[in-house]
Symmetry: C2
């Protein structure tokens, strides 16, 4: 197939998967890190920064934007991109809710009875 059955999962699960999937590529990780370091920049700066062709960068930027991770602002000829901090906040909050069992690894780490 190759098609993800999104209808089988909750809206929250699908949204988190979409956001994380968008970050699931080293080029997009690098773009976000760069945007974080410079606050904001135009597309051309990223093209100069990363060793990928301009259409490839443009495509990655579109995916990041579709997932809500970045925002793009048209300024005349150029487009100024920056991180959408709402998405970063969502990721932080999501992973904050995972339990941390400090007994993990002590006894039989995979013992269901360990609460």
């Amino acid at each position: 197939m190759g098609i993800t059955k999104t209808d089988l999962f909750s809206a929250e699960q699908n949204e988190m998967a979409r956001i994380l999937k968008a970050m699931g590529h080293p080029a997009r990780v690098a773009i976000l890190e760069y945007l974080d370091s410079v606050n904001a920049c135009i597309c051309g700066d990223i093209v100069s920064e990363l060793p990928l062709a301009q259409p490839t960068i443009s495509q990655h930027l579109r995916e990041l934007k579709n997932a809500g991770l970045i925002k793009g602002n048209v300024e005349g000829n150029t487009i100024c991109y920056c991180i959408d901090e709402t998405a970063i906040g969502k990721i932080r909050e999501y992973f904050a809710h995972f339990k941390v069992c400090d007994k993990q690894g002590e006894i039989n780490w995979c013992n269901v009875k360990v609460k």
Copy 2:
């Protein structure tokens, strides 16, 4: 192509992308949430829990394991899976380092001069 040029990026960027990509699917998000809620369980429990066929679940579990997000322990006939908290910690730490510009959106949100 369809092939990711991992050689162009740092080991850290590739590792983070690998981890996040593994979570970039609603089924794998659901699996992690379930594992978090029950601490640990055998594969069959996940198969019963999720509306996907057993081979599909097995495949998703392998991807989560390859990315370091879960651990699997063979116990006789069954395999007991649980979250590897090291990976969760890595994700938390990674996103904690992103700057949060509280001036975002105030003036021109995409003004590079906003520090």
